[in-house]
Amino acid sequence: MTRPLSSDNKDPSGSLETVVAAIAQVMGPGTPPHRVRPTDRLGADLAMSSLAVVRLAGILQKRLGRGPLPLHTLFVKPDGTVLHDIRVSDLAEFVSLHTGGTP
């Protein structure tokens, strides 16, 4: 299944495109950007290990040219509960919020 990234105008900040490109970079040739959907879960659907998720955070930091992204706030809820998986769209929204864009 393929999905246009920005042509539907639902990614005005470009965050989704940035996240998808970074995921493709982490996952390698077996996961080209057009195979990554916003609804995909990083672990269950894309089979990303914890090491891969940490690499993703590092690559996003470099792509965005900024310091550490508080990615852990996506995984730990205010009550301390730890989420074991998030969706690509959650990450795109997070990146948008932390780079001054509009989700």
Partner: protein
Amino acid sequence: MPDTILSWNDLTPGVSRHCWIQPAAASGYLNTWCYRCVETAVNQPWDRDVAPRLLHPAEMKVWWCQPSDAARRRWLRGRLAAKDAVRRVILKRTGEAVAMGTLAILPGPLGQPRVSGVARIPPSLHVSVSIAHCGALSAAIAAIAPRGSEIGLDIASRTDNHEGLAEGGFAASEIALLPEAPPWERNRRLLQMWCAKEAAGKALGTGLHGDPLNFIVVKNDASRNSILVEPRFAMPSDSDARLPPMSAAVGGDDTLVFAVATGERLP
């Protein structure tokens, strides 16, 4: 018994299962065994033949509920390695060759594997097991440990691309512990530090608790193949408690690195 220790690879076409001495020897526990399970029939449905024969009925349900074919094969690989290690530990301790399907290694509350179906182990002890995955390979380590103590294992491939790991997984103070060395050596040490964090989290039963900076490497002693990791997160039950530093033994070869940690499981 059709699946005795000595005939195991005949029972699992599609994977190759072998003892892995290094992590077990590094663990610090006396009765510790580590096994690897490598997929040889990549992307083939070997698991559909193997799972019904070697899994406990409760494990079958978990295996079947995995989100994809690849996830089912990965999960089964890990279980086979874990069952091999647990069976070997029990054989050494009690002389009993437990059948594969009798053992149930099921996910605990936070996903950590828990062994049941083991008789003849004194109540003060238990079989602790930890599972790790890397590409087409899964590994598991098992030990007879005091009840409440756990063992944690993590592995990583030296041949994979690890761009972003230093920036995304470590504080500046941790990166400063890496020696001035050629890139391949720094990468090996970095991977060992990563595995040490993961292994410590597994031994505590918390995992990384959502943030790799919840476990900070405070000492990297290359001469002793030992890494000291400090857990830095507060438990909801006792926010003032500081967890003691944990020591992880590290090692590896040309293709893999590993870390083994032991600790007291948190409630």
